[in-house]
Symmetry: C2
Subunit: 444 residues, 2 copies
């Protein structure tokens, strides 16, 4: 029975305290940056109607999206799915909530689901953290997303590269190369694989798809042009002529303060069919260990309008952070020490009769926002210190006969092993001096 | 098409900014209190194996638990469920992670799911926030949970009543009344409904279940005894004799500092079969508007041992907070003003040429942790002020020709309508004085 029951479902993870504390820190940093740029939180459900996702991702489409969507039914036999991303539910939310004045800027963080193959760093449920704006068609807002993204990774401590391209540029390149309109989407799906399969791989896949050699060679030579952002834009203007997408990329880059970290990459495609303008992908600068994008997004100007069909336009742009990849990257690159516990202080009553007085001290310490755990077992001191150590608790307080007689407490620094007999006020002062203590009055 | 697509699944909710901000505040308060008592965060997946939940809740059992569980399959045809609660996954986690020294104290917050009928305040996905300890059989730790719970509701600003009983007392009462062992579980399920159906309802359901009238009357007279905690314990000792559960309740109440808010209630049952000792339920003191429990839990000493079957014992106790009910209660009882946005400041460039200089100010303000939104549309001032008002943003800064010439900014208090022409440093000083600003250095 044991081995049968004690298993997780395939492709999902547990996170113990050490991992969860690290993940919560990333989430907190993102929340702070998102809010500092004026984005408000919302929450949509995990369960959505099958029809909603099918309307965007189709069935049996070239994309794996619907095949890899978890499907379920309720007791009323309704067709449901577990959300695979936030853009479609966000569009539904905006469509159902016309009361929010535009631009409507929101972020959402939570689990999304995919019933696909498991690879390292690719799970069946994973956290996504999305920021989106609806109501601004101007590329200035795209530049805001670039800056917000750079700010997140600066705070997290990862060096990244922000890549940008535009669907209209890709379409321009394909048109110029002689790809028929109806074939453009399938060619883009192949170009999207450039990073993984290289120019040769793209070439052979395009051949398989029946694209003519001359057309293929024109596509490949165009997406392989080199130079800095300005030079690439200049060259492309020469090749494909006047292009709305080129202007949008130019304007976006222009509005990013100090032009930091933005790289224009004409081959960047992004698989999803719903993108209409700029597309983004963010990679670690050092890709030797983490090769997949850690953040991606783009413009989806027709999705909300498509839902609503009220003749109004709902320009929208957003970016999505994958917590798992960021978490993996931090484990590889961060020098910060892992934290095995949130506890500041472990309180040890040295025998059972000191539990009640210890509890009174704990109550006072907790009121000072010192995270305090206490031993109720009156087990041996050695065992208690081992316990505190195993969770990396930095401070221990002991209360026994000696301390009680003198009206004092023994405070032990678990890192240095030093300890001192102090009155409560001195213990508190020392802890306040040494610990980073959360202030409960602060807002989220 | 429109009406077909723009719908949520049945029984799930969207939370816009106002509601999400309020919910996040509750979650933050709980997190702070849980951590202050020495509980660490963990995260288990939403998808679990069908077998795990079926092993605890059975199939076709009298309880609705498995029938109301969302079931699904992955592409490999594996039987899965969406978790309905955290206790079973926590027990699995502890069983699979023997490396954590006991006591292991953890909290988990997140969505759980039930495919049941929809009532007001009862949805198909809802947040639950659980604290549990494994490794302490002594009731002192149960007292810690009482205090932690009281602390949560004190901070949230709701007046509650903490009810306690014990499975062993119920069993003692039933044994004393002459209920056969095999019938005790079903009788407890009926007693659990006392609050909803009253003594008469319980009586008639027990009759339907074939319990003899003399037995029923003895049960009912015992669970209806009255008095304060001490008096009830004294009376029950007289009726059912020496009882382990009575000692546990007595010890728990004794260890709650100042005995605050704990009410012993011999009729309290809690439906779930896995409880083995103390059971808890928390209600608002004023039940006129919210009648269901807002928090509940108890001891489940045999579950983890049952999974592991290694001969060791894993005493465990926990309590679970339902976010939806607490959120509903706050909406009814809290006097705090709703917050429609997290934004502190809305920056208005008075024409397009001031957008770039405005962006530089925004960057500086955000570095000071002032949550700053900016207008990119250069729309009319009146429209911009309406926008800021609709989200309840408290401060607006304007930058136009006049301000630029003088090297100053116009700061407007959106509540009073007062505005002043100030240099950047004075704007910053004023905002820092007036706003509650989050300190990024603080830990989670």
């Amino acid at each position: 029975m044991k081995s049968d029951i004690l298993q997780r479902a395939k492709g999902v993870c547990d996170y113990g305290p050490t991992e969860k504390i690290a993940r919560d820190k990333i989430i907190k940093t993102m929340r702070q940056v998102f809010e500092s740029f004026g984005y408000n939180p919302i929450e949509t459900p995990i369960i959505e109607r099958y029809e909603l996702f099918a309307s965007k991702f189709g069935i049996g489409q070239e994309s794996d999206a619907m095949r890899e969507t978890f499907k379920l039914k309720d007791q009323g036999d309704r067709d449901l799915v577990l959300r695979t991303e936030f853009t479609v539910p966000f569009s539904r939310f905006v469509g159902m909530n016309p009361q929010f004045k535009k631009p409507f800027k929101r972020y959402q963080m939570g689990k999304v689901f995919r019933d696909g193959p498991i690879k390292l760093g690719r799970y069946r449920e994973f956290w996504q953290c999305d920021v989106d704006v609806v109501g601004i068609s101007d590329s200035i807002i795209d530049a805001e997303l670039v800056q917000l993204t750079n700010e997140v990774f600066e705070k997290i401590g990862l060096e990244v590269e922000f890549r940008i391209n535009n669907r209209k540029i890709l379409n321009g390149i394909l048109q110029n190369a002689g790809v028929a309109d109806k074939n453009q989407e399938t060619v883009i799906i192949t170009i999207d694989k450039l990073d993984k399969v290289g120019l040769k791989g793209v070439k052979s896949e395009l051949q398989e798809k029946g694209i003519k050699p001359a057309v293929i060679s024109k596509i490949l030579s165009t997406i392989s042009i080199e130079g800095d952002n300005k030079e690439l834009i200049r060259q492309l203007k020469n090749i494909i002529g006047d292009n709305e997408g080129l202007k949008e990329v130019e304007q976006t880059i222009d509005y990013v303060i100090d032009n930091q970290n933005v790289i224009f990459m004409p081959s960047l495609a992004r698989g999803l069919a719903y993108y209409t303008g700029n597309v983004f992908e963010v990679y670690l600068k050092d890709r030797s260990k983490v090769n997949s994008s850690i953040c991606a997004g783009g413009r989806f100007d027709s999705m909300i309008g498509g839902f609503l069909q009220n003749g109004e336009s709902y320009p929208a742009v957003g970016i999505s952070f994958g917590l798992e990849t960021i978490f993996d990257a931090i484990k590889l690159y961060s020098k910060e020490k892992e934290q095995n516990s949130v506890i500041d202080l472990y309180f040890i009553p040295l025998s059972e009769e000191y539990i009640k007085p210890a509890l009174k001290y704990c109550k006072k310490l907790r009121k000072e926002n010192i995270k305090t755990d206490i031993d109720y077992t009156a087990r041996k001191l050695k065992k208690n210190l081992e316990y505190a150590n195993s969770y990396g608790v930095p401070w221990v307080v002991m209360l026994g006969e000696d301390e009680a007689n003198k009206g004092k407490l023994t405070l032990r620094n678990m890192n240095s092993g030093e300890q001192a007999l102090l009155d409560y006020e001195s213990v508190l002062a020392k802890l306040k001096e040494e610990l980073v203590i959360e202030d409960n009055k602060k807002e989220i």
